[in-house]
Symmetry: C2
Subunit: 374 residues, 2 copies
Amino acid sequence: MSGFKYALLQQDSDSQARRGRIYTQRGEIDTPAFMPVGTLGTVKGVLPEALKEIGAQIILANTYHLYLRPGHKLIQQLGGLHKFMHWDRPILTDSGGFQVFSLGELRKITEEGAAFQSHIDGSKHLLTPELSVEIQLALGSDIVMVFDECIPHPAERSYVVDSTNRSTRWAQRCRDVLPKGSQSALFGIVQGGMELDLRKQSAEQLQEIGFEGYALGGLSVGEETSLMYDMMEYSLPLLPTDRPRYVMGVGTPENLLEGVARGCDMFDCVMPTRNARNGVLFTSFGKVSIKQAQYRDDERPLDPDCQCYVCRNYSRAYLRHLYTSKEILASVLNTHHNLYYYQQLMAEIRQALENGKFTEFCRDFYKKREVLTS
Amino acid sequence: MSGFKYALLQQDSDSQARRGRIYTQRGEIDTPAFMPVGTLGTVKGVLPEALKEIGAQIILANTYHLYLRPGHKLIQQLGGLHKFMHWDRPILTDSGGFQVFSLGELRKITEEGAAFQSHIDGSKHLLTPELSVEIQLALGSDIVMVFDECIPHPAERSYVVDSTNRSTRWAQRCRDVLPKGSQSALFGIVQGGMELDLRKQSAEQLQEIGFEGYALGGLSVGEETSLMYDMMEYSLPLLPTDRPRYVMGVGTPENLLEGVARGCDMFDCVMPTRNARNGVLFTSFGKVSIKQAQYRDDERPLDPDCQCYVCRNYSRAYLRHLYTSKEILASVLNTHHNLYYYQQLMAEIRQALENGKFTEFCRDFYKKREVLTS
């Protein structure tokens, strides 16, 4: 593995928060960072140029979906995912595990891997650690994630033990199969459910294998938010300080802030994009459901404090009109705004860290919402 | 009416084709021109900035749809349609007649106007010439169309006689109700079905009333293409040379070329936008149905001769993938390309006219398709 490096630029003195920078062959990523989700080789409704304008330095793509449609071999043949989707900045790919395990009845786990049936046509497949890495490399991923099991919550301790141990063995197989000198970084994923000792064991064993970065998996799976924060607080300090730390599938703006405070560098979540398509928009004063009748004749921008393309040029009334009329531009504009909100939030967090004002930033963040929504 | 002017720049010597320029308070329109359709205050899937990049100098908005949703009074209160949809170039509004008459059972015509039920909620409305103009002015339309009946085809001559006479009386009522000194131009619409003498009578009577421009209505309603061309060929020369001529609801690239050859200056049609959403794309070698399996691994741009954003950055394989995956970006990219194709066609037609090469252009246009599709 070459071309991948993490530089810790600044450690906050009042919290675990830290500012850093990831260097890849396809560009730098300032951390803490949020990665928009581009499931099928497109961040739904947003052009790559708009993603750049918004400030996205990396996006996430889903191995499971691209494996089934249009197929990793086709994408490889066409020059890789970056070229296919016209995105030249870094791409992190998940391992496909999360989607496969979400299939419930349609999948079966063995030591070898996870047998599953496609949600599209019912065809049968076996996803193994080796195949997962093969797919991710074929896509041309800059950051490859190990194949692991995302343990449901709640779960019996005995199941968590077995699953976590298996995920560690799978992580080793992923490490073994990634060619030396690959341009792609490989991240391990800490599992262990909500069991502290198993989280610790997982974190330690993964570090023995050695990865370019470490993620926390199995969070945001239905547990109480306070428990998720506790797991972050306990697990993140178990990871090496000289590698990026990524909490997978998280979360709300509040979750990001709390994750950063506990030492996380990277996040991804469908929340800003999926919510946008459902007309739920993030603002400096909290969430807005744009379909509400109160916005019918509201000529103000969605968020007067927001400098995004949407807030500079359109009214709440227009956004409501587009949404209630089921216009394509509703998804386009709403997603643009929500992703801008997320990127802007991360940029402000980084700025606050740089200025040594992260604690004040958090306080103001919560205060503003209280004032404006009361 | 002020601020509106048509300048005939060049009359082709071998055909009725002509090059001109329309001046409005919101900018110039080079003719022959194609107007993208933005039914509900948005050209589906295309941002206003992209429309400009594509070269659109004017768009069309639908009075019927905007009257029902979100309502012309709301749009007026919010500063007009241009501000509402963030489009500062000219907008032509139709009269709502075409949509109302398309409602079939749901509408009833009297001398006063057309009573109809909303296709959205079944509510009852009466659209009159006066209300149509009122709505269009409230929207802030730059070019207001008279309220008329689009006669179905085929139709009994007696019906065509009655309808055409009524449409002429309605046109007079529209003229009467448009305030002197309005910034909006008013266009008359020649009806008369497929009856030559009635077309002539309509054209003459409308000119007696006097309008800033003249349209041909009631074409592209299911008649043979050759009959449509015959009607254009007969009717367009009946109109004054110093006013723009607009054939409504037309058409295919071939139709535009043939319309220009017969003296038409303006066109509108949902074809490029609607086809795009259905995966049917216009190219220099004819139509392409992008969902076809042959494009699965086709790394070429959709149209190698096209310089649009889509053809510069994406492959046929990617466009097929987006379409078969029902991704939002499929509509966005497909519509962008199709509209570019239409705008580019008109630009090339204008250039050919300027160079005195229109006849050659038409010959090459047809020849290229023959060669490339054979």
